[in-house]
Structures are given as C-alpha cells and as structure tokens.
C-alpha cells in the first residue's frame, strides 16, 4: 500500500539532498544556517512519526528563528541558459509538457480511479488523504519521466529543484506553521471569543445587522485564521444558527453556502492563507510577497458585495 508516509520520505530525501548541496554551495552567503534549515525540515519529514512531539516543537521554533534571523539565503544558481532553453524548447517541444500534465492528470486518475483498487486484500492507495498520496505518487512518476525526456542526471535535477526551493525559501514552511497556529487558536478558544465579541457588541435582534455581522464575521475571521473551514463552525454556531435561523427564520441551505463563500472572499485577501497567496508569490519570484493578494483584492471585494446582496435577497 502506498501511504502518505512514503511520500513524506520522498520529500525528506529531496530536502536532505538539497541541504547537502546547499552546504557545499560557496556562493551562498549563509550556507551553514541555510543548510541547517533544510536539514531540520528534512528531519521533520523523515522522522516526524518517531520523534517525541516536544522535540518536533523545538524543531519548529528553531526553524522560525533561523528564518526570522535572516539565516536562510538562496544559493548561487546559474540562471537556466537562454541558449540551452531555446535549444531544448526547439528540440523537445511538446514533450516538455508531458511530465507537467502527467502530474495533474495522473493525480486525478489515481485519486478517482484507484481509490478502491485492492491488491492481495490490501488497498493500493491509502484511503486516508487519497488525493495527497496520489499527488505525491504522480510527482515521482513525472520526475522519472522528466529525467527520461531531458536526459538529465538525477543529482543535477535535484540541483534544478533547489533553485526553485531557494526561490520559495521560508514561505515553504509557512502553510505548516499557519496550520499549527490554527490548532493553537482552536485549543485556546479564540473562535468562541470572537463570536462572543460580535454578539455582545452588535444589536443582532435587527435582521439586517445580523446578516451583516454573519457575512463580515465569516470574511474577517477567515482572514485571521487563513481558512474558511476554521471560521465556518465558529460563526455558524455563534450567529448563523441561533440568531439568523433561530430568531429570523433564515433559510439554512443558502445561508450556509453564501456564508462559506463570504469566507472564501476573505481567503483571497489574507497572507494567512499562505498556500494560495504567499507561496505562489515566492514561486513566481515576485519582489512583493503580497502581490498576489493585491492582484485579487478588487475581485474579492466586489464579489463580497455581490455575495452580500445575494444573502439579503435569498435568505
């Protein structure tokens, strides 16, 4: 059975090789601390299931301190040579697209098609997190395919991956850290406090005020948590169900759907949704890490207004 643990080992190995390459990269002004950062992250992937939780916690703090102190720098990567690229593009043509499309399509095929396939009584792909496991497996197949098509040696391919890894930098860690923070917020009861705050401060007996509080509550709380899924139960149990459904007899199905979508508008606006907003900015090598948020902010605000109008109209 292919499980998520296998995929974590692959990520860990990639990070470990990249860390070793970083260590020997004299063009990196902070090669020791940078190598330490990537090796620690590699350990989290390779040994995360075996290390005690408090050791893992200390590892998180160490990663944040290295990143915060500016200890993580990019190495010296010769930019891909333009001549070689043009030559490769002319020679290989559409073959270059094959591994990229393979990642997407194979993930889909594996996730949907092999979900229930068993070999010798065992599931081929772990039922937990099928899509994630499929994506990991597809990347591995695509990697081999890319090596075959380009004739690149594996170690040089990892070098090429390290060029992108350095471009992403500490942003690679951010989605993980935000999920950790979300967990701590939940344990500390931050959600209940926020909905209490809203309920105490606003005259929710008025239906219009209650609807506004619901929509803005979803969007703002999503921006804080970076995730509409975390905001939805809190705001629904705080305002949506007791006040809007209970007192004002709102229709629950559109209320739920439009509330969640108000939250999605918030997701477009917050650096806390790092996987969608900060990582892409790093991946596209943008100087302004908030450039993606700025590009989608007008869409988010206009759409939030439309959504609000729909909420008033339909609920």
């Amino acid at each position: 059975m292919i499980t998520i643990e296998h995929i974590y080992v692959l990520i860990g190995l990639f990070l470990l090789v990249a860390a070793l390459q970083t260590l020997s990269d004299r063009g990196n002004a902070r090669r020791f601390s940078s190598a330490a950062f990537w090796s620690l992250l590699a350990i989290a992937f390779l040994a995360g299931d075996y290390l005690p939780a408090d050791v893992m916690g200390a590892l998180v703090i160490a990663l944040a301190i290295i990143a915060g102190a500016g200890g993580l720098r990019g190495g010296s990567h010769p930019a891909p040579e333009l001549v070689a690229c043009r030559d490769g593009a002319a020679r290989l043509g559409h073959w270059l697209l094959l591994p990229v499309l393979m990642i997407s399509v194979l993930t889909l095929v594996l996730a949907v098609g092999l979900k229930h396939v068993e070999i010798g009584g065992k599931m081929l792909i772990s039922a937990k997190q099928t899509t994630v496991v499929s994506l990991g497996a597809s990347c591995t197949v695509a990697f081999c395919l890319a090596l075959g098509i380009t004739g690149e040696r594996p170690l040089r391919a990892v070098h090429a991956g390290r060029r992108l890894l350095d471009a992403v930098g500490w942003a690679a860690l951010l989605p993980l850290l935000l999920a950790v923070l979300g967990g701590i917020f939940a344990r500390a009861g931050v959600g209940e406090l926020v909905s209490r705050l809203l309920m105490d401060a606003l005259p929710l007996g008025n239906q219009a005020v209650a609807l506004l509080a619901y929509a803005f509550g979803m969007a703002l709380f999503t921006m804080v948590m970076g995730n509409a899924f975390a905001a939805f139960p809190v705001i629904s149990i705080g305002i949506g169900l007791p006040v809007l459904v209970g007192q004002h007899h709102a229709d629950p199905a559109p209320l739920a759907a439009l509330g969640m979508l108000a939250g999605y508008c918030g997701t477009l606006l917050t650096p806390m949704a790092a996987n969608f907003n900060i990582v892409p900015a790093a991946l596209l090598e943008l100087r302004d890490q908030h450039a993606v948020i700025r590009a989608q902010s007008s869409t988010a605000v206009l759409l939030f207004c439309c959504n609000l109008a729909l909420l008033f109209f339909l609920v």
Binding site: F14, G161, A171, G183, A295, L314
Partner: protein, 225 residues
C-alpha cells in the same frame, strides 16, 4: 472568561502589517496565544510538534519542484511562451479568460488537482501570459511582468475557490452539512452546493471584467510606430 487569548490575533495583524518575517510572526503568535490560554512551555512545544507532524501534507508541492526545475532548465517556459507567441488569436485576455473558465468548470466537477500554482501557473500560465502581453507591447517593464504573474496566480485562485464549492462531494459542502446536522438541521449536500452557483457566476463575471481591463493596459503600452 478571559479575553487574553485574542492577543495572538493582535500579534499576527501587527507582524504582517510591519512586514516582519512571516515564520517568526506566526510562531510568536502561537507562543503568545498558548501562554495566554494558560499552557506551559512543554504543552506549547507539544502543540507545535503535533501540529507540524499532522500537517506535513501541506508542503507536498515541494515534490513538484525538481520536476519543474529540470524541465525549466530544458526550456519548458520558453516552449509554453513560444506556443502562445505563434498564435495570433491567443491574446492576453483570451488566455487568462479561458484558463479561468476551464479551472472553474473542472473544479466544479471535482477535478481540483488538474491545476495549481506549482502544477500549472508557474510552468504554463505565467509564461503564456507574459508571451501574450509581449506581443502587444515590445519591452515589458519588470513591474508589468510582476503584475502579469501575480494576475495569473490570482486567476487560478479565483477559478479554484468559486468552482470547487459547487462540487457536491467537496470538503466544504460536507463540512457545512456536518455542522448543521450537529445542530439538528438536516440538509442535502446537493441543496447546499446549488446555492453556491449564483456566487460562482458572479465570480466569473467580475474576474472576467477585471481581466479585460487588465489586458487593455498592455495594449496601451505599445509604443507608437
């Protein structure tokens, strides 16, 4: 009941507003919230450790990097750009609009993993958008290139978010059903999913309109002959 745990939110907002290092801001906010909620050092470390261990799947995009890096060293981006540059009908607006539509439709059918920032935006959409803009405008400024890439990323996000919510088996729909069921209100997933449609249509129209305006900017940048 104490309001102290909200201090973590203040740390987050302040940290991002001052543009401090994001990793440090988030970890500090976690430590502050943990102490405010009465956890001790060991409990905070355990919470961090377990959180990291259970959420490692969020860093899965790292596995795409060696694939993309290798292909880019052999001209992937040049090929994607050249393919667009050779097609006179593939203007900037049309490229982004088609991507938006396809992304939204496929996400609505549950085919969420067909696209993505690492899988399609960096290797394909961004270079295609740059190539399409280059045809209208000979020397793009560095800022224009940034704007083109950022808009490509934004288009993927908008298409994904406001497509997947219509898909019945999507996590969000099931989450909504679950939360309401816990409170004694039974809803059909299909019912919830269908109420996502009006907003999805609005999202497409609004973003399409913005893409049209955005693309026009590059037509004006063309120097007079």
């Amino acid at each position: 009941m104490s309001w102290l745990p909200l201090a973590g939110i203040a740390v987050v907002i302040l940290g991002f507003a001052l543009r401090l290092n994001g990793a440090l801001v988030v970890v500090s906010a976690g430590v502050v919230t943990g102490f405010a909620a009465g956890m001790n050092v060991h409990e905070i470390l355990v919470a961090f450790g377990e959180g990291l261990r259970d959420n490692r799947f969020l860093a899965l995009f790292l596995l795409t990097l060696p694939v993309l890096g290798t292909l880019e060293n052999h001209g992937l981006r040049e090929h994607a750009a050249g393919w667009i540059a050779r097609r006179r009908t593939a203007g900037l607006f049309r490229v982004l609009l088609i991507y938006l539509g396809v992304r939204q439709l496929t996400a609505a059918l549950g085919l969420v993993s067909l696209g993505g920032q690492a899988q399609t935006v960096r290797p394909l959409l961004a270079p295609m958008a740059e190539a399409a803009a280059e045809r209208d405008c000979e020397d793009l400024s560095a800022q224009s290139r940034e704007d083109l890439r950022a808009m490509s990323a934004a288009t993927d996000n908008v298409g994904l978010f406001f497509g997947e919510d219509i898909f019945v088996a999507f996590g969000a729909v099931l989450l909504m059903q679950g939360v309401y069921a816990n409170q004694g209100i039974a809803l059909e997933p299909l019912e919830i999913a269908l109420w996502g449609l009006p907003t999805a249509v609005c999202a497409f129209l609004i973003h399409a309109w913005r893409l049209a305006r955005f693309s026009r900017r590059f037509r004006h940048e063309r120097p007079a002959p």
